[in-house]
Symmetry: C2
Subunit: 218 residues, 2 copies
């Protein structure tokens, strides 16, 4: 299966899992940087391969086969992230970019070797769970987005759900990092902003960021 197909299936998987947004061709197209027409085309092609269910004007749904493929790619991506993070001094964003390419050129054997070397990690450096070789995610996700966190409570960052350089640069400058602790000092409900204290800093984050920072209550 081609890189284009792997990316398409992965985009549906990620959109489906993480975003509130639906999985109609247009949304997938936007994620992949291709035209809507190309996405519709691809959807039909993948339906013929039993990777997803396609009905005109409806959201795309991965079949079991499609989900398995997506999880295999996601596994390789997250293993590479964990591995490169451990081995080399590179920014999370750079690591993400490398993983984005390497994930498609990694045999199951090499993925297994990397996983073994790392002691079969359950999470990558963003806090994203790493599926096992059978495509199963065995860790349950109890975390909530920072936008839903409660004033006065203290949380541990469990996930940074993004692939945007700006965001990661911001995180790096503000101690926002997987497994760091923060306290929600104020939720500005009407403005959809959240004030947190982390380390010695106090930061006000808007919704763009609080929706992709996931936390677990301490």
């Amino acid at each position: 299966m081609s890189v284009a197909i792997e990316n398409f299936v992965k985009a549906i998987y990620n959109n489906d899992k993480h975003d509130i947004k639906d999985t109609k061709p247009g949304n997938i197209a936007k994620k992949l940087g291709i035209s809507n027409a190309a996405a519709t085309d691809m959807a039909k092609k993948l339906a013929a391969k039993d990777l997803l269910n396609y009905e005109k004007y409806q959201a795309l749904q991965l079949t079991e086969k499609g989900t398995k493929m997506a999880l295999n790619v996601v596994r390789k991506h997250r293993l590479w992230e964990a591995f490169l993070f451990k081995m080399f001094d590179m920014s999370l964003h750079d690591i993400h970019r490398e993983a984005e390419l390497l994930e498609h050129q990694t045999s199951d054997l090499l993925a297994k070797k990397i996983s073994e070397y790392l002691g079969h990690p359950k999470f990558d450096p963003h806090g994203d769970p790493i599926p096992n070789a059978n495509g199963e995610i065995t860790t349950e996700d109890t975390s909530i987005s920072l936008s839903e966190a409660i004033e006065g409570k203290t949380y541990t960052i469990s996930r940074l759900m993004s692939d945007d350089k700006e965001f990661f640069d911001f995180c790096a400058q503000n101690q926002i990092k997987y497994r760091n602790t923060l306290t929600v000092s104020k939720q500005f409900i009407s403005n959809k902003m959240t004030q947190i204290s982390i380390g010695s800093n106090t930061i006000v984050l808007n919704e763009d960021f609080t929706k992709i920072i996931y936390v677990d209550e301490n």
Copy 2:
């Protein structure tokens, strides 16, 4: 530049360097597993990009630009070989196969990181020299092929120039390994075979193998 182009340029470079064979489209086509017609087509296309010189019915010659590209790919390939060899318990052939894919999806930054991690190695696990980031090979090659070695002398294996699984399996079973020592007990000139003793074994090799095993006199 695409994977197809990188592989094409690399094939010319390797053919030119290692083999006695010429670099006409047919030979490159055979190496890449594509038709002669496709190779001719590609040659014209790459000539237009100033990666090689193409004249009808003549051997293909890489330009400086083409050579630089080839060396960049070769560098990444050999760095991956060295890295995977160090990190994981995998056969040389498996490592080669992974490197063959990863080489095209590796940024210059990651290559640099891998090289640094390994202490800027000069050779990969086959004994092939690793070009530096500027595409320079700073080590001179004093080795000769086993087919040219002299009876009675003792040598150190400096290079195993192949990507064939059968060959590597044979090597693994017979202690034929980069940096191992062997003695040439007999050269059967007319049969083009060579008898060596390596470890406690005595082996007779035919020309197919003695031409790709490179050695340095002790």
